[in-house]
């Protein structure tokens, strides 16, 4: 069923002035797809991803996720979506700096209400896959950008989410690590996950099934974006 958005708009107040940072956005993402959201910096890509991930609220429009209208869901249901359905990789990583890598990675599990076995094993598996296993007990504040990014990815995968929403997931990585992360994401797609990547790296975008281009808060045809 996937993600269906109609006429999404987002209005914000910046320096006492209201402005629309997203307008008339129609987006449809089917289950199992791997989609890139591309556009210039400041175009509204992150904002769109935040609304998809139910961390930010839209001002107008309709959004349904797997057939459920998000406006009709209770707060606790939406929190559960954030916890279990979406695996979020924030552009700025969204890590707790004074906590360790391990503590950050298992956080979604601790915040949720599901009890699962082998949580520790799962966390170590993820760290192993991303090559940060030996950093498990390091505090995040001591990590490099690339290590932080990989920690954020490991956390996003923790709850086996159906959707992986990645905001510039390779922004802090060198090309070798970029390839490695893209391989991980593609492998996840192969086992049925739906993946949405915000990026301005065309190589990354080209790995995806499809691109959604954003320009000044609106979805446009690909040709209109000159990179």
């Amino acid at each position: 069923m996937g993600i269906v958005m109609k006429n999404i708009g987002k209005e914000v107040v910046s320096s006492h002035e209201k402005k629309w940072i997203l307008q008339n956005v129609d987006v449809e993402i089917k289950e199992g797809e791997m989609v890139a959201i591309i556009g210039k910096s400041g175009a509204g890509k992150s904002t769109l991803l935040h609304i998809i991930g139910a961390v930010d609220k839209k001002t107008t429009g309709e959004y349904s996720i797997d057939g459920q209208d998000i406006d009709k869901l209770k707060d606790s249901k939406i929190a559960k979506l954030r916890n279990q359905t979406f695996g979020y990789i924030m552009q700025d990583f969204g890590l707790l700096n004074e906590d360790t890598v391990y503590e950050n990675i298992i956080l979604p599990y601790l915040l949720g209400s599901q009890s699962r076995k082998n949580i520790k094993e799962k966390a170590y598996e993820n760290m192993e896959m991303l090559g940060i296993k030996k950093l498990a007990s390091q505090k995040v504040e001591k990590l490099s950008g690339g290590e932080k990014q990989r920690t954020a990815i490991a956390r996003a995968l923790m709850m086996d989410p159906k959707y992986i929403l990645a905001d510039e997931p390779t922004g802090a990585l060198d090309s070798k690590n970029t390839q490695q992360v893209m391989k991980i994401l593609r492998d996840l797609q192969k086992i049925g996950k739906t993946i949405v990547i915000v990026t301005h790296d065309m190589d990354v975008a080209n790995c995806c099934d499809r691109k959604i281009c954003i320009l000044d808060g609106q979805v446009v045809e690909k040709e209109k974006i000159n990179h």
Binding site: V55, S76, I78, A79, R82, Q84, E98, L107, L111
Partner: protein
């Protein structure tokens, strides 16, 4: 369960702040309890001084040496016709039920009269049919008589005193010139006040009781005709022991109460401010560090309500801990470690102190909660980055 663990881990990480605030809570509680207890006691004892009718009543206790050789002291007292007003504790078992009695000498009834709930004080000039007693509490009624196995010991209740009332008891008596009333007044803890070894009044006699404890201090009554030589006589008695006028003790008592209230009031004020600042500081500290934490908790699975509850609990924990420690202490010997004279520590004092602190905490917490409640947590996250 996981969330509790997460919460506890977060508290342990900031344990320094929490220990500091908890200690502060305990200190403020201690000050408050002693303040309120003192105020309660002061209220209960505000008329004590007036209960001693005669102004030339003195509390006296011999120096150690004379305690064993009282003849010299007695000689001196006899010389001036000074009247001894001893009090004693009596116990007897007249009807298979142990009675605790506070025995007063005859003259004491003339110079002293406490506040009664009902009936009247024992009148030393009156002819009573039975031994007159003042009963404590509501177990007896005025006029009620009760007999004992001993036909000579039939009592009649003539007055009722509250068991919360403080009564004269020559416990130590005038240890220094600065002695306070609290040395000769104690809470009524006997069943009865009864005349003991009197000349005119029907009374209980030494031989009739199972046990008798004379209190080590005495009250002395200077005859009125010696009033103009009072100073000189007091000086002479002072050679044998500590002596203080009861009226003077009453003044001392009031003065020391006043001092206590001023000093503690200042300390309390300072600590209240420190606590307010401390709670506010913790809030800010926890908030600043935790606001980002809360926004991340929000993004990865908490509702806003949960974030608020979590923050609230994190702020309130020193209060809960401090009060728990205090309650534990209260039941395990706070009384012994922290006894100010005439201090009342009871449930009321504690509850009043606890409520004060709860209010103090919430003065800083509630605005914070309102602020957090109004915010869009994700917008807050974006601000922080």
């Amino acid at each position: 369960m996981n969330k509790t663990k997460l919460w506890i881990r977060q508290i342990i990480k900031n344990k320094g702040y929490y220990i500091f605030l908890t200690a502060e809570v305990v200190i403020v509680l201690l000050i408050l309890v002693s303040m309120i207890g003192k105020l309660q006691a002061m209220y209960a004892t505000k008329e004590l001084g007036n209960a001693v009718i005669n102004k030339n009543v003195y509390a006296f206790s011999e120096y150690g040496y004379y305690r064993e050789n009282t003849t010299e002291v007695d000689k001196c007292l006899d010389k001036y016709n000074i009247i001894n007003l001893p009090t004693c504790s009596l116990t007897m078992d007249p009807m298979g039920k142990r009675l605790f009695m506070l025995g007063y000498s005859e003259e004491l009834f003339d110079v002293y009269s406490p506040k009664l709930e009902a009936g009247e004080w024992i009148d030393s000039t009156k002819e009573y049919e039975y031994i007159p007693v003042i009963a404590a509490g509501d177990k007896y009624q005025v006029g009620e008589c009760f007999e004992t196995e001993d036909p000579q010991l039939t009592f009649q209740v003539v007055g009722i005193i509250s068991p919360e009332e403080y009564v004269l008891l020559t416990g130590v008596g005038g240890t220094t010139g600065y002695a306070s009333l609290s040395e000769v007044f104690y809470k009524m803890s006997s069943d009865f006040i009864v005349p003991c070894d009197c000349e005119h009044l029907k009374c209980v006699r030494k031989e009739q009781v199972d046990s008798r404890t004379e209190w080590s201090g005495r009250l002395l009554l200077l005859p009125d005709e010696l009033a103009d030589r009072e100073e000189e006589i007091v000086k002479e008695i002072n050679q044998y022991g500590y002596i203080t006028n009861v009226k003077k003790m009453s003044e001392n008592y009031n003065a020391s109460n006043q001092e206590f209230c001023i000093v503690n009031g200042i300390v309390l004020f300072v600590f209240s401010i420190i606590t307010l600042a401390g709670v506010g500081g913790i809030n800010n500290m926890v908030e600043l560090k935790n606001e980002k934490r809360m926004t991340i908790y929000y993004m990865y699975g908490f509702t806003k309500r949960k974030c608020m509850l979590y923050t609230y609990l994190s702020t309130i924990i020193p209060l809960i801990l401090g009060e728990c420690i205090f309650v534990f202490w209260y039941y395990h010997g706070l009384d012994e470690t922290y006894t100010v004279d005439l201090l009342e520590i009871n449930m009321f004092t504690f509850v009043a102190a606890a409520v004060y602190l709860v209010i103090l905490f919430h003065i800083t917490i509630i605005p914070e909660m309102i602020r957090l409640g109004k915010k869009d947590l994700f917008a807050l996250y974006k601000q922080k980055v």
